[in-house]
Every structure is written in structure tokens, then in C-alpha cells.
Symmetry: C2
Subunit: 203 residues, 2 copies
DNA sequence: GCTGTAGGTCTACACCGTAGGTATACGCTC
DNA sequence: GAGCGTATACCTACGGTGTAGACCTACAGC
């Protein structure tokens, strides 16, 4: 009757689904166990701790993403990386924020960073410069995709403007009246590419 | 003997200090209450819920920051905004991540965004363009300052590279050997300014 | 002096991660 | 086949969390 033998993989998959559906807090050990029809503590035979489980969800997330992993020009890497992360945020909105709570590591992450570093080195940046470029891109896109994933910060600049005096914040009110949605990811992509191009030209 | 009457302000200040010292999870209601020599549920007379308390911490954080609030050229606004947020991350490392968990709102936040929007409008961007620029800057800097504040993601790209095969990730290994620290905030500032300049020129 | 109310306390609940001890079921060697 | 080590699941229990509801108590206004 025990449909499938409990395994790390099954646990991680379940946690990812739960997180996608109910947010990261919805992926408690007890809920995962319940979903799998198993006692809480049984999970500990496959996952040593909650943090390890979240790290596993990060792996799972990276595995599902289409990030650049082969040699490309630096600007293509930037576009591909941003697009890949944005896709993750779209498809795994609930689980996305785990990338901000746990370190992003493992072979899959390293592989993407490796080809990014190579691309910037080929473009003429030195080691530190390439590292700075990759790190900046990675962290900036994380921040920008937060709002795509997280309902709480979705209306980052819009919340509460209604209610504040129009006379004091005229432009903000104009914005809320005129703009309905802005594609931050598109803006970020362009800004990063243009900005890094200038940086490379100057090197 | 009851030194001072409990108040929202005193609670928020205490929560901020606790969060700074022990991280955001160190600011539990019980610990705040304990620090103030008061029963947990007494806090509820001044703060309706834990989320409201965190929102208050956001306020407190913004109040402590030196963000641009007067009319300046757009590039000065970007530099000032990034520097201000980076300073917050430096001085309130433990509490910083609250900006990623709760919406950033209130008059203080709106005031900064307002002058940013104005600056970009004066530079020639339309309403949506200005909004996109401000939003992108705000979110990108949030992501980049995370690593300055949060120990977990501090070594975002470096963790675990040792242990992965040198042959497969040669550049990553070179980086960990050569580079000790990169000022992501400085890189981000330059990239944003250069990238937005290109965007403005094209408009 | 009575009463309404604000602001404190106490108890209790449901949830969380996880440590320690126990039972069962498998694959191995004799 | 008998014995046994190991892996995996279970149970109980602890200390932590946010919060709801009943209670008490001191003070202000009539």
C-alpha cells in the first residue's frame, strides 16, 4: 500500500510544490510529511534539517531553470541569465524567495557563473572585474524578480500612495493613475547590458 | 518602578535593536517583551500583529537612512539612493532583510521615490519610463545590498567552489584564489548610472 | 462614589523544528 | 534457516513561535 518509498527526491519535489502553492512558509516539515502520508520525523532519515531541505529546494529550482550553461558572448549571457531567473520567478513564484534566504550554490549554479565569468573575461575584463560584473548581475536580478514572485512587494512603489496628500506627491499620484504595470525585468536587462558595455569599453 | 510607559515607539526601537543584534528572527514578540520587562500580550495593546511590528521596523529603518529627499539631478539621485540603502545595510545588517519581507511604504519611502521620479521626468523620460527607472533602481539595489547585510548570502558565488572539480570550473577557482572582496555596490552604481544614461539618451 | 475604558496579566491553543528512544523489515554472513 | 547489522519509519516530548480570550486593575469623567 505504501505507494512509493520515501526518498530525498520525493521530499524535495513535494516541498517545492507546496511552496509554490502556499508560499515558502507553506512548506513546513509537518505539511510535507502530511502530503506524503508519513510521520514528520521520517523526513529526517533523508533530510538532516530544515535548512538542508530548503537548500534542496534551491537545487530543484535551479534544475528547472533554463540558465545559460554554454559559451556565449557576455551580453547574451546577461540576457539569458536574467530571462532564466525571471522565468523561475514566474513559474515558481511561491518558492522563489528561497533564493534570498539560502545561499545559491551547487554545481548547477557554479556552471552558470563559470560561463558568465568566461564571457566577461573574453570581453576584456580582468578577474576581479568579471567577478564583480557577474555578482552584480546575479544580485540585481534577484532583487528585481522578487517583485514578480512575491505578492507582498508586488506593489512596491504603489501601496499606500492613495491616502497620502496629492499636493505633496504629485508625480507619484500621476504614476498610479497612468501606469498600470511596468516590466522591470525588461528595463533591468537593458540597463545592465548598456551599463556593462560602458564598463567594458572603459577597461 | 515601571521605568517608562510602554509605547509603540519603544517597542519598535527595541525590535530594531534586537533584529540588528540577533537577526530578524531574533526579534520575536516574546523576546521584545522580555527585553522590555513586560508580558508578551501587552505588546498587542500597541501593535496589532507581528506583521505590523515588522512594518514599523521598516519605518524605523527608513527614518534612520540618509536617502535623497530634495530635488537633484537623476544621476545624483541614483548615487544618493544606492549609497543610502547601502548605509542602511551596513548599520542595520540584522534588520535589513525586513525590506525584502514586508512592503516598503509610508511617507518616508514615498518622498524618496517622488524626487526620483521627478528627476527622471526632468531628464526627459515619460511617466512610465520614470517609474520603471525608479523601480528598477530600488529593486536592484535591494538585491545587491542583501549580500552586504546577510551573512548567509555573503559568499554568494564563492561557497562550495572548493570541492568542485578544478578542471570543470577553472575561472571560478581562479576567482576564489585571486579575488578576496568585490564592492558590488560600487559596480552597481556605475552600471545603473551608465545604463540609465543610455536609456535617457535614447528617449 | 460609580462607572467606562485603557492597558496590563494570565491561560490556552495550534503550529513549528527537532532530539531521543523504539519497532520493523530488509540483506548479509554463518 | 538462524542470527544480526542497518536502514527506515514511528512515537513521544521539549522549547520555541504568533495570537485569541478572559481577567484584573488603575485612572478619568460624570
Amino acid at each position: 500500500m505504501t505507494s512509493a518509498p520515501l526518498s530525498r527526491e520525493r521530499i524535495l519535489q513535494c516541498a517545492l510544490q507546496l511552496a509554490d502553492r502556499d508560499g515558502l512558509d507553506g512548506a513546513s516539515l509537518r505539511k510535507v510529511a502530511g502530503e506524503l502520508g508519513v510521520h514528520v520525523t521520517s523526513l529526517y532519515n533523508h533530510v538532516p534539517t530544515k535548512e538542508a531541505l530548503l537548500d534542496g529546494v534551491v537545487e530543484e529550482l535551479l534544475a528547472s531553470a533554463d540558465l545559460p550553461r554554454v559559451e556565449v558572448p557576455w551580453d547574451a549571457w546577461v540576457r539569458g541569465f536574467v530571462a532564466g531567473v525571471a522565468q523561475m520567478a514566474r513559474e515558481h513564484g511561491g518558492a522563489f524567495e528561497v533564493l534570498l534566504r539560502r545561499p545559491v550554490q551547487g554545481p548547477r549554479a557554479t556552471a552558470t557563473f563559470e560561463v558568465g565569468l568566461e564571457a566577461f573575461r573574453r570581453a576584456g575584463l580582468d578577474v576581479a572585474g568579471s567577478y564583480g560584473a557577474v555578482k552584480t548581475v546575479a544580485l540585481a536580478v534577484l532583487g528585481c524578480c522578487l517583485e514578480q514572485a512575491n505578492a507582498a512587494s508586488a506593489d512596491l512603489l504603489q501601496t499606500d500612495v492613495r491616502g497620502l496628500p496629492t499636493t505633496e506627491f504629485p508625480v507619484m499620484h500621476e504614476v498610479t493613475a497612468v501606469v498600470d504595470v511596468v516590466d522591470v525585468v525588461a528595463v533591468l536587462t537593458d540597463v545592465l547590458v548598456a551599463g556593462l558595455a560602458a564598463r567594458i569599453a572603459r577597461s
